[in-house]
Symmetry: C2
Subunit: 108 residues, 2 copies
């Protein structure tokens, strides 16, 4: 079965939504903290435009990554684990085959 | 004579370049200060994306405004005076007819 065709139970959907929310809040908090720290020491225009470029990239990335869609959940969770925004434990309750797929993808 | 066809003496060009530099430094300093102040209190993602939008607009504006071109100097100086980045006194030495044009445009 294609990863994109995997079916999810109602109970799994609840776990998915919660995990998404946890990772999102974690990533956003880290981003906000980083911007507050970096921007306080900006003294040159070049640094300011670097911050602007950074925000453009992060905005594009975050908008795409947290767009909730069941067909891409496996890939998104693998990425979130790889990036450190989600722990495997936080997906407890998902079917073990799905968890294995996520784990395998997160190590790629 | 069209404003864009106005001729400038070497002495005037020196005054122009200096005035440009003064206004540029003033505007940039104010922008950097504003960003440092605003960004220190960002606690929500929405505020961060507002800062991003603000930087996108300011970058576009500043890149265009300070593009040195003699044919548009009259308009740029009028705008810089209107926006408060340049004082009329800082253009002392330019031909009086040109100064009048700049003053008139800056009040529009």
């Amino acid at each position: 079965m294609q990863v994109s065709e995997i079916q999810w139970s109602k109970a799994e959907e609840t776990i998915i939504k919660k995990a998404f929310e946890i990772a999102y809040q974690r990533e956003i908090s880290a981003l906000l903290k980083e911007v507050r720290e970096v921007s306080g020491s900006i003294i040159e225009l070049e640094q300011l435009w670097r911050l602007h470029d950074f925000l453009s990239a992060r905005r594009h990335d975050i908008d795409g990554k947290y767009h909730y869609e069941l067909s891409t959940v496996i890939f998104v969770f693998a990425r979130l684990i790889k990036e450190g925004w989600l722990n495997r434990d936080e997906l407890k309750g998902l079917n073990s085959e799905k968890l294995s797929k996520i784990s395998a993808l997160s190590r790629m």
